[in-house]
């Protein structure tokens, strides 16, 4: 199993999650490599918290998260950095781009760290998602939709076994959602990776193997 969650309860949600039945919180859940998982999470149930816990951004939880049978809480900074550059990638709900950098620089900051995707490939992906004219635009000046598409491309600029997504298309219209979804599916397949998508409502963006209620 590449990802295992054992009785995890986020401390800030401790009282709340004990009041209802969740498929994730306070449960033992295992995910095999290559699985497509959809986590449906009504507002306030800790969707973003789950993604952040799995990505190692937060440590305020009870229970244990295992990546490749190693407890995430015990990982040192270098191990977490290695995980984030070669095993797990993420699309944040709030995009988390560098506002002072251009669109291209935002992508280069990631691409040059891992060195696994060519410049040509990035330009092609920008074109597919309609960002070819935004190359030199500052991220701070781009619309939310553009920023979200840029964040999607950035998440694909590394090798990964798992792609974590937190409402990845929340700022996109149908046409752009289709384009972004197709690109993600293609790259996830190339990497023979699994995905975990957390969203508010039921969706058919991908052919999920597993759907869990948070």
């Amino acid at each position: 199993m590449s990802l295992k969650i054992e009785n995890v309860i986020p401390i800030p949600l401790r009282d709340k999650v004990r009041l209802y039945r969740s498929d994730v919180w306070n449960c033992k859940v295992e995910f095999a490599l290559g699985e497509y998982v959809f986590v449906q999470a009504p507002s306030g149930t800790g969707k973003t918290t789950l993604v952040h816990l799995l990505y190692g951004l937060r440590k305020d939880y009870e229970g244990a998260i295992f990546w490749y049978n190693r407890p995430l809480a015990g990982d040192k900074d270098d191990q977490i950095a290695a995980l984030r550059t070669s095993k797990i990638s993420v699309i944040f709900q709030d995009m988390r781009l560098f506002p002072a950098l251009t669109a291209w620089e935002n992508l280069e900051a990631k691409r040059l760290l891992t060195g696994t995707v060519s410049e040509q490939q990035v330009m092609e992906w920008m074109q597919r998602l309609g960002l070819q004219d935004k190359r030199n635009a500052l991220a701070a000046t781009m619309s939310y939709g553009e920023q979200q598409r840029l964040a999607i491309i950035r998440a694909l600029l590394q090798p990964f076994d798992w792609l974590l997504m937190d409402e990845p298309f929340s700022h996109l219209d149908h046409a752009n959602t289709d384009k972004a979804r197709a690109l993600i599916a293609e790259v996830v397949q190339q990497n023979k990776a699994g995905m975990l998508l957390a969203d508010l409502d039921e969706n058919r963006y991908f052919d999920y193997h597993k759907t869990l209620m948070l």
Partner: protein, 400 residues
């Protein structure tokens, strides 16, 4: 790390420091480091001038000639004022004594003759001291058994007595040092039947030793070749190099052993203690200033990192490790520290060169490059600053 990535990280992490703040921090560090190195150089130079083995001994040490007091009890006893080996060894251990030289007198007849306008003939005595006790070392101060030219060093007092006392009373011309040096004196050494005549020249004047000095090699040779008796072969006077002759313990030592010396020499120049206090105070001040300089520089680094906090967090979120980012920051700040210390050492080198040239005109010899102590301080300073800077960077980034 590619140039583009370097540029991106530079924009994200180093944009918040401000150039003027960086320059202020560098200047503070440079001033602190320069003061430290300069104070070490000053300390090292004063040590060299005051206590070094070079020709600057006269500044830091007082030389004095001591002998056993001639009393009614010992005045008739041959060799009574001669120092034994045990006594010499004891003097070496006496308080404040840094070095002891034996003053060796001739143990054979010496007869000087000079013709011409200043004609005279006289019996005389000569002495020798080890060369490093001379207050000046004339270039031609050497003699070997094949040489018939004999260099002499005359006490300046002798010339003063001649010029200010003897010459006016005898209606003789006064003589400058240069004219005395040009005189040739026939010097006959040894008893009748075993004597040789040498052509002696005065090559220098001594303020330190009130005698007629010849090279040690000549006295040793003469005492072996011409000596008529073995008694009195040892030294009856010693020349002492002392750090502080005014020391009570040293005075007591002389008194207990009944050694006499020129009591005028027992004064102590206060300048040495003042210099020691000044160099120590400068050193303490320099360490404080370097500390402040280092603190300002480290605070600048911490401020730069704190201002880049948001970028730093995001970089770590997309996979940059703290180690990677620390390396980037080190690559930025370590050369600045090294460059600043290079400037500080250049300032110190310039100061040393300037001091060496300035003191040369006063007859003092200083190396034109800073000594090992300065380079040692530079290395210690560099290592300490690098450790502090890299630790500060690592800590600030890990906490970021």
């Amino acid at each position: 790390m590619s140039a583009i990535q370097n540029g991106i990280l530079r924009k994200l992490l180093l944009g918040g420091g401000g150039k003027s703040r960086l320059w202020a921090a560098l200047v503070a560090l440079c001033v602190g480091a320069s003061l430290l190195l300069v104070s070490v150089a000053i300390w090292s130079d004063f040590n060299e001038l005051l206590y070094g083995k070079d020709r600057n001994d006269a500044i830091g040490s007082t030389y004095m000639v001591v002998g056993k007091r001639v009393t009614e009890q010992n005045m008739g006893t041959a060799g009574a004022t001669v120092f034994t080996d045990a006594e010499i060894a004891d003097v070496r251990k006496a308080p404040q004594v840094q070095d002891v030289g034996l003053i060796t007198a001739n143990n054979f007849p010496v007869y000087a003759v000079m013709g011409g306008h200043l004609a005279f003939e006289t019996d005389m005595a000569v002495e020798s001291v080890p060369d490093h006790f001379l207050d000046q070392m004339p270039e031609d101060w050497k003699w070997d058994s094949n040489s018939h030219d004999l260099p002499l060093i005359l006490s300046s007092q002798f010339l003063d007595i001649y010029n200010y006392v003897f010459a006016p009373s005898q209606h003789l011309p006064q003589l400058s040092e240069r004219s005395v040096k040009s005189l040739a004196i026939q010097l006959k050494a040894g008893p009748a039947g075993n004597s040789e005549t040498y052509l002696a020249h005065v090559v220098g004047f001594s303020d330190r030793i009130g005698s007629v000095l010849v090279p040690q090699s000549f006295i040793d040779y003469g005492n072996r070749k011409y000596a008529q008796r073995l008694t009195g072969m040892g030294p009856s006077q010693l020349i002492l190099k002392t750090k502080d002759p005014s020391d009570v313990q040293f005075g007591k030592y002389l008194q207990q052993h009944d050694y006499n010396t020129n009591s005028q020499n027992l004064r102590w120049s206060k300048i040495r203690s003042i210099v020691e206090v000044v160099t120590t105070a400068t050193g303490v001040l320099a360490v404080l200033l370097l500390g402040i300089g280092a603190l300002v520089f480290i605070l600048f680094i911490e401020l730069t990192i704190a201002r880049a906090h948001a970028s730093l967090v995001l970089l770590r979120e997309i996979g940059y490790s703290a180690r990677y980012l620390s390396r980037f920051m080190n690559r930025r700040f370590v050369p600045l520290v090294a460059g600043t210390l290079l400037v500080a050492s250049l300032i110190t080198m310039t100061g040393q060169l300037f001091a060496a040239n300035a003191l040369k005109t006063q007859g003092l010899v200083l190396a034109s490059l800073p000594g090992m102590a300065v380079w040692g301080a530079l290395v210690v300073c560099l290592v300490m600053l690098l450790v502090l800077v890299t630790m500060a960077i690592r800590k600030a980034i890990s906490n970021g």
